[in-house]
């Protein structure tokens, strides 16, 4: 029986008492649009025989005002949790002085020792399983004990003296508190989430950690489907972030050593990823490069596999007939206007393209509201390069209406996994010029063997290289023979290897197998 409630922002949240599959979603569907969200939407709709519960994890409610997708009918339950939605400061007198359970802190200490030692990876995982019970409300190491007990203070100060290379204890203390606080929130989420036969997370990180908690709490299998590699992306963010303090003075600072707090955050997210991999029954990646990366990051190889994305080729096929006789002199980038898509490189490439072929137009089709500052920078760049007449921002567009008018699809991203938009372009008869990221090279040139023999479905260039991007696009626009050859290769490749039915069939097997599994061994 499904009830509907409204959240504080007026969104409709269906509520049920149980579901077949619980999807654990961190910062994605249904509140954020993008590749992963489209995939989640596609997956839920492809399995009408299963009911889905969605557990959305975000940072703060203000970042997720409204849903970007309509919920499919088989989503029977949706709950939202915000990890950095801090409640108003409590009355100090309400804080109880705690002594802390020494045995629980001893277990925590042992786990941290094991985490520091790469040779003790397995031990750390087992110790965490044992500690799951401690983190639950009423357990031996509750959030209150972590925040207010003497044992916690003693442990944190000891760890600071023993390991911290940053001189500020204050920063160390608050970093440790802020870093670990979400773990208890997730433990609370795990306690009250409705029962499901299978837990399915689409990333590691906090959602993956929640998956591990649920796996050990209810002994039901966990499936991990990673698109990008969460730990890697977090690491890049952390290396570039400005908010992490480095208090070393000129004499203490060794430029070849990253700051202690930065390293601590990186290790924290690596540990979350490791715990998720340890708890999972099945781990999937979109392509071989990412699968190998998962293994390097600690995923047991036997649990890993590749399940490439697929698109509805039959649904997109009619778009080929809608194409004009001549190749449209339009380069189109379909994607959110965000830094990871490196829209600026595409804009810069247009300087070269227009110098050599003034009739070309550039379209940027994607929502601009996710990172408004970046969108503004892109518009300003267009103005400063005086490309306003030729570079057009179209906002969100339906690909079915857009693709027949496009000559070459451009993907200038600095990071991708296996981009659906390139496959959709192939299915609609549009070749692509992409950067050499993720599985793009595999999509354009094919994997060695029969796939590669189909030919090149476009061109691949280095990231952040506007000149190469421009020349690759011009090569296809100028040479009809090269363009048609790329179109043929793209259509053949997507029809043979990236049909949505193949992906759905693989997941159907996994869902069927995991749902039918008897309860697994517990953490105790």
């Amino acid at each position: 029986m499904t009830k509907i409630i409204h959240d504080s922002l007026g969104n409709l949240l269906p509520q049920a008492e149980s579901a077949d599959i619980a999807l654990l979603l961190e910062g994605t569907f249904p509140y954020v649009s993008g590749g992963v969200s489209s995939w989640v939407n596609q997956m839920i709709r492809a399995f009408p025989e299963y009911t889905f519960a969605l557990c959305f994890i975000g940072s703060q409610p203000k970042d997720y005002q409204r849903m970007s997708y309509a919920l499919p009918d088989n989503v029977v339950h949706l709950e939202t949790h915000y990890l950095y939605d801090f409640t108003a400061p409590v009355n100090k007198s309400a804080i109880k002085r705690e002594t802390g359970d020494p045995a629980a802190f001893e277990r925590s200490a042992k786990m941290h020792v094991a985490m520091r030692n790469p040779a003790m990876r397995g031990t750390a995982g087992k110790l965490l399983q044992q500690m799951m019970k401690d983190l639950r409300p009423g357990g031996a190491l509750t959030q209150d004990q972590f925040l207010h007990s003497e044992a916690s203070w003693k442990y944190i100060t000891e760890q600071y003296r023993q390991f911290c290379t940053d001189p500020s204890f204050t920063d160390y203390f608050w970093t440790v508190r802020i870093m670990h606080d979400p773990l208890w929130k997730l433990a609370m989420v795990a306690e009250q989430l409705i029962p499901a036969k299978v837990y399915h997370t689409v990333s590691t990180g906090f959602a993956g950690f929640l998956g591990a908690l649920l796996r050990y709490r209810y002994n039901r299998p966990l499936l991990v489907s990673e698109h990008g590699i969460y730990t890697k992306e977090r690491k890049i963010d952390l290396f570039q972030s400005q908010w992490i303090r480095d208090n070393r003075d000129i004499f203490e600072r060794d430029v070849s050593q990253i700051s202690y707090f930065r390293d601590l955050w990186v290790r924290f997210f690596s540990a979350l990823g490791q715990m998720c991999y340890d708890a999972a029954e099945d781990i999937s990646a979109l392509y071989e490069g990412n699968r190998l990366r998962q293994v390097i990051d600690g995923a047991p190889e036997a649990k890993t596999r590749n399940i490439p994305n697929g698109v509805d080729v039959r649904g997109l096929m009619p778009l080929r007939a809608q194409r004009a006789e001549n190749i449209p002199k339009v380069l189109c980038l379909i994607g959110r206007v965000v830094p990871i898509k490196d829209i600026k490189t595409f804009i810069r490439a247009m300087l070269t393209v227009l110098r050599e072929m003034p009739e070309v137009e550039a379209w940027i089709a994607g929502p601009e509201d996710e990172n408004e500052d970046y969108a503004l920078e892109c518009h300003s760049l267009v103005d400063s390069l005086q490309l306003g007449e030729k570079v057009k921002f179209l906002g969100f567009q339906k690909v079915s209406e857009l693709l027949p008018k496009v000559g070459v699809l451009i993907l200038s991203s600095i990071s991708e996994a296996l981009p659906l938009v390139v496959l959709e372009g192939f299915a609609a008869g549009v070749p692509s010029v992409t950067t050499d990221v993720g599985a793009c090279s595999q999509l354009i040139y094919g994997l060695p063997g029969e796939d590669a023999e189909l030919g090149a479905a476009g061109r691949v260039v280095q990231i952040a290289d506007p000149t190469s991007l421009a020349h690759a696009a011009l090569e296809l626009l100028r040479d009809d023979e090269a363009w048609y050859s790329a179109q043929r290769a793209g259509i053949a490749r997507v029809e043979r290897y990236y049909e949505q039915d193949q992906m759905v069939a693989t997941y159907r097997d996994i869902y069927t197998r995991l749902s039918a599994m008897p309860d697994l061994a517990g953490a105790d």
Partner: protein, 352 residues
């Protein structure tokens, strides 16, 4: 600071190894010496007292002391047995005068001595010739750090975290030096490294672009001529900084040079005697391959008071690119007066 224990350790490590046979012989002598001293004890306890017995005991004791002194002189660390002759005498006397216990005292003394810091004179340190400061190399030396980081970055076989750290370390270096290295990392096989290099490049470019975007709208406001001049000059400098820091390539590079020139020209319309702006326009004309214009603008800069000596290399470059080699030689001859070590090879070539 190096702690005393580690100095002692270094010293012991520096001790030359004895040949096996000599070491064995020393230990054999020590054993035999102790055995003989035990024999003297036994004789003293059981034999009747008498001069002969006393003499025999003293003789055996002397022999035992000699054997123990031989052993000690070979087994003890070198710094405890120099000068050699006196250390022999010392060892002999102590083992002669205090049978059995003498050896124990020696071993105890050895332990105590090891606990004390060693004198610097004992350390294997040699005097070397005082280094000379090579002033002529100042401009060419990259002081190791940058070179080491570059080598670490380029080594694709090195551990990923090691290379990431090397890249991170580059953040503290000037953009102009780092940008080409970062650009070369954009096709690195390691995804993390590519992304980090991109992020660093993007951040540097973004800082300058944001300043430009902040300045440009000011020109739409009603400004005094002085203010308008200042804004145009700032924007010109920011665009040329994009070029100087190697942050723009290809057509974007040309566009940045064009933009810098446009804003510099606008500033010069207000203040035609700004020598620094004429110099900037001269350099931009060189970049844009307008060599005659470059020459004219650099001459204007000199006429407005810019030091001719500092502009000679650019004038020579413009002449060279125009193919006017006699002019290059003439300018080089002027430059010789102000030569710097870096320019010496070029000056030798042009003005033999």
């Amino acid at each position: 600071m190096v702690r005393p224990e580690s100095l002692a350790q270094q010293h012991d490590e520096a001790e030359p190894h004895l040949p096996f046979w000599l070491k064995s012989l020393a230990w054999l002598a020590a054993g035999l010496g102790l055995l003989l001293q035990a024999l003297v004890f036994a004789i003293g306890l059981h034999a009747k007292s008498g001069v002969l017995v006393m003499e025999i005991c003293l003789a055996i004791q002397a022999l035992a002391a000699s054997l123990l002194a031989f052993a000690g002189a070979h087994v003890l660390p070198r710094h405890l047995r120099t000068p050699l002759r006196w250390s022999w005498v010392h060892l002999w006397l102590i083992t002669f005068c205090i049978p059995i216990a003498g050896v124990a005292i020696l071993l105890l003394a050895r332990r105590i001595a090891a606990a004390f810091p060693k004198l610097a004179i004992d350390l294997p340190i040699e005097f070397v010739v005082e280094p000379q400061f090579a002033t002529d190399l100042v401009a060419n030396v990259s002081y190791g750090r940058s070179a080491r980081l570059r080598a670490e970055l380029k080594n694709v076989d090195a551990d990923a975290s090691y290379r990431m750290t090397a890249l991170m370390a580059m953040q503290s270096m000037p953009s102009r030096t780092v940008s080409p290295v970062l650009r070369s990392m954009l096709n690195d096989p390691l995804d993390d490294l590519r992304l980090l290099a991109y992020g660093m490049l993007d951040k540097q470019e973004k800082v300058l672009m944001q300043k430009i975007l902040l300045e440009r709208p000011k020109l739409l406001l009603p400004l005094t001529q002085v203010e308008r001049f200042a804004v145009n000059k700032t924007i010109a400098a920011l665009y040329s900084e994009l070029i100087y820091a190697n942050l723009v390539q290809g057509d974007v590079y040309r566009n940045a040079a064009d933009q810098a020139d446009v804003y510099a020209a606008a500033a010069l319309e207000i203040e035609p005697l700004d020598a620094a702006l004429w110099r900037l326009r001269g350099r931009l004309a060189l970049v844009l391959e307008r060599f005659d214009k470059a020459d004219q603008m650099l001459q204007r800069a000199i006429a407005c008071g810019f030091s001719r000596d500092r502009l000679l290399p650019y004038l020579a470059e413009a002449a060279f690119l125009r193919g006017d080699y006699p002019e290059v030689r003439r300018l080089m001859a002027d430059l010789k007066r102000e030569s710097t070590p870096m320019l010496l090879p070029i000056l030798h070539y042009w003005t033999p």
